[in-house]
């Protein structure tokens, strides 16, 4: 069966510090991978998605970037965090582009 992991589970970072969030999927090959951000009490904002190694589509022009160095690994990064980057970051995978399966998420607080 497929499993998706995200870490860390929670993170508190000062403004201006770098960020690296990692997501890995097990039990499947060549998944589509997604990064979402959810502000408190709000909906799901798609940040990036990837259909293959090295292929990244950006949905939001911000100070965030994503990389997919391996088939089942997706990394979200920032060089300098802003207060507005706080939120719940969710990684998801899908084989069809239809149903998506989410990881447990990383709760990021920028102080």
């Amino acid at each position: 069966s497929q499993t998706i992991h995200q870490w860390p589970a929670t993170l508190v970072q000062p403004v201006g510090s770098p960020l690296s969030l990692e997501c890995t999927v097990e039990g499947t090959s060549n998944p589509n991978l997604y990064w979402y951000r959810q502000a408190a009490g709000r909906g799901l904002q798609l940040l990036f998605y990837s259909v293959g190694i090295g292929q990244i589509s950006s949905e939001v022009p911000q100070n965030l970037s994503a990389s997919r160095p391996q088939d089942r690994q997706f990394i979200l990064s920032s060089k300098k965090l802003l207060l507005s980057d706080s939120g719940f970051y969710l990684c998801a995978w899908s084989l069809t582009g239809y149903e998506q399966y989410f990881g447990p998420g990383t709760r990021l607080t920028v102080t």
């Binding site: 909906g43 949905e59 899908s94 582009g97 239809y98 998506q100 399966y101 998420g105």
Partner: protein, 109 residues
């Protein structure tokens, strides 16, 4: 374009029914539904791919009216465990999903 969900929030007592709607101003080719409990990740419930399709999962079912460009989620005889935020999603260009803003459902004992 983001699908529109209504209502924004619903408060129910256990055993009551609810309907959550999802509509789009653009043609809908598929609709998927998710539930997110407080502090957790969204969980996929079901997907509807064809106009007129209906699906059920326990006492939660959904319909898809392709012509009206809308889908409805039906929660029958609600239980406390149904509380959470329900999102509908539609597939945009490529493999990306566009989610509605969500409907918060509170079920009280």
């Amino acid at each position: 374009q983001q699908p529109v969900q209504s209502p924004q929030a619903v408060i129910l007592r256990e055993g009551e029914d609810a309907v959550i709607n999802c509509s789009s101003s653009k043609a809908l080719y598929s609709v998927h539904w998710y539930r997110q409990k407080h502090g957790e990740a969204p969980v996929f419930l079901m997907i509807l791919l064809k106009g007129g399709e209906q699906k059920g999962h326990d006492k939660i079912s959904a319909s898809f009216n392709e012509k009206k460009q809308q889908s409805s989620l039906y929660l029958t005889a609600s239980q406390l465990s149904y509380s959470g935020t329900y999102f509908c999603g539609t597939v945009g260009g490529g493999f990306k999903t566009i989610f509605g803003a969500g409907t918060r459902l509170f079920v009280k004992a």
